[in-house]
Amino acid sequence: MKKHIDDIFKDKLENFEAPVSDGLWDKIQQNPEWQQHLKRQKIRNLSIYAILAVIVISSCAVLLHQRNNTNNQDIETSVIEEEILTENVQETTTNQPNSNPDAMPTLTTDETVAPANPTPETTDTPDAQNATETMIPAEDNSSVVNPTNTEPTISQNNSVPEKSSEKTVHNNNSNNKSTQAAESNNKSDKTPDGNESFTTPSHPSENANPSSSLFSIPNAFTPNGDGLNDVFKPVTAASLQQYQLDIFAINGQHLFTSRNIEYGWNGEFQGSMMNGGNYIYVIKYRDSGGKEHIDKGQLLLIR
């Protein structure tokens, strides 16, 4: 019987199977290539777990952070709302004749038209009007919960019962946001409302200090040369026997000192502008009674 040689081999060998020696599986397991593959796999699995863990942890942290932030904001807004409420009540009780919102658009003109005479006690009638006028935009700001504006807003209200804001308004370049205007008041009375003016989110500890009502201290300033809030300084109408303002960096470095109440910090240290951020102020003074006070707190330098 004749058969083609190809067919002979194809038939027999195409599906040829042969037994393997028993130890071959173990050899495969011990093969360096295989070990390397297993190692790589292990590393890959580990790294996957590590990445997952990092993702989970970071998302947790972000969530937590956000929750804290919203909580804080809620507290801030509620505090401010309360303040605004009390202010409104006071406003109505003081019965200012001109406290209508119609005066708002004429705010800046009113301020510039107002007498530049630096005598605090003389200008009575326009002041009352001005105080209410400046308060209206300030209230708008506070509802936005802008930390830089909240304090001026609140302290602004102290000016309602007061009658002496005009002078400092003009000294401070007739600031539109009326921060200095507001701060210039607090002349002598220490009403509970005056204390409340310092319940800002950044330093609520001052709340308990009755002496702080002597000052209006902004918690932020923007030394960018635009004429608005370029200089940090406390504003007071009280007559002080001694006064000293010191500014420190967060790390404790002393940056600035001033003994003149009109001379504030412009954000510079040794001729160069400091970076934006938090700084610490310390104000030492003696009030008219000769009693010594120290005010401390943080201020925010904004660029």
Partner: protein
Amino acid sequence: MKRMIKDRDIVAGCKADKPKSQRLLYDKYCRMVMGVALRYCPNTTEAEDLVQEIFIKVFTNIHQLHDEVTLTSWIHTIATHTCIDMLRAKKRPLTIPYEEMSNDIGDMSCNYYDDIPAEQLLAFVQELPDGCRTIFNLCVIDGLNNEEVAAMLSCTENTVRAQCCKARKILKTKIEKYEKTY
């Protein structure tokens, strides 16, 4: 059907790098892989080394297999390629210089009584020179055409044809000798 389901489970397990499934796959296909490896190698020791390599390749590349139905042919392909790669890596002359085959068109049939065991035929193949054996395996047993083989081994089709003829001639004499002895 049972076998297919089993195959699918095994492949799924191997894709998840489960040692148990890998062992099952090995147990099921090691004989086939060994058969292929033996055809391409001159001896059993080399063939077993090849089987190791082949299974490592199978396990590390199993995620590239998309259809479990083709598992057998996929493993077969990997085995073949690994064998060729090994021969290439050992720098054996895969292709022998083209030899003029004068009696190319000779009778390639021989008396055959279907009594030669597969192991003996395998031994004949293993005794072939490396290049001859590889080309004979690819062309005749694995059934690839000359063009494919030439591309795989990066040689000319003429070489493939010549080597194949040479292999047939050698094998024919061996079979005839075997038939005469027994």
